[in-house]
Amino acid sequence: MDNDQHLIAATLRGDQASYRVLVERYQDYVFTVAFKVLRNREEAEEAAQDAFLKAYRALASFEQRSKFSTWLYQIAWRAAIDRQRLKKLSKQSIDDEKSFLQIGDLEPTPVELLQQKNTKKLVQQALDNMKPEDAALLTLYYLQEQSVKEISGITGLTESNIKVKLFRLRDSLKNQLSRQLKTEVKDLL
């Protein structure tokens, strides 16, 4: 399989089919980043398409100091954030923990409950409740396996800021999941 550098070089020589390989290689991740930010499939698809178009136009200026994927996610991130700003979305922030389900009395431990439940589904639900940029940040960290340094390049945030944010987000996620599980058990009883 051709590596990104070869495909970029071929694209710059006028071989659009090589760019198609790059699009197909990264479309899921680019779309996921946009979707996490925008929470709407149609808009995420438009933002992702916009990102690929911008990347194509700027391909000659890509200096390969970072990975192509990092550079591309940075464009996707900005495209999605710009679109979101235009929409003036006012989504619930992860900081707004009051809006989460109320905490019940301590019964079974969250661990026991998590093991019985579809953890993935719960985590996904929790991500959906997060502020879009925060959900996208966690997605970049876990799904795309970007390092903190790379995420810094993508989002424009400092590395220390990202570390703090990631810790806060994960901790909030843990607290939220604990509360949700306890509430569900309470409802069942």
């Binding site: 198609r20 699009v23 690929f52 953890t119 985590v123």
Partner: protein
Amino acid sequence: MNTQELLWKYAEGQCSGHEKDEVEKLLASDENAKDELRLIQEIHASLSGLEAEQPSMRFAQNVMESLPKKLYANIGIEPLLPSYLKVIFWSILSGIFIILVFISKTRNPTNKELPYNYLINESIEMATKLISSDMLLYAVLIFISLATLAIFDRFLARGKFTS
């Protein structure tokens, strides 16, 4: 670094040797910390197992259709000589060659009665005049110039801009 932070780091396998020892000591003495870690490990596994969203089937096609066609299009350089000039050039060259061969074969014709004798004699006369005049020099110079142009044209045509 607080305990929670340390537990997340431990679950992700990013602890240094010292931090690892610290966590393990904590886990051995604190049941709550053990439960916390198990919860964190569950969440970490779930986050790591997240699947990417998929755009529509036509996504790549839509992207390709939206790209400007000529931005990085193959830039073929037009040959410096138009094709009809090439034909003329090679015709002249071929003509000169044929005449020279013809002259060399007929410089001492044995049979002067042949019907083409007149043509042969005229050709010989013309060639002799040509050789003795500056015209040959000009012809050679023109030929070298045209040949140089043709070679340069070929060189450019196979340059880096063509695929």
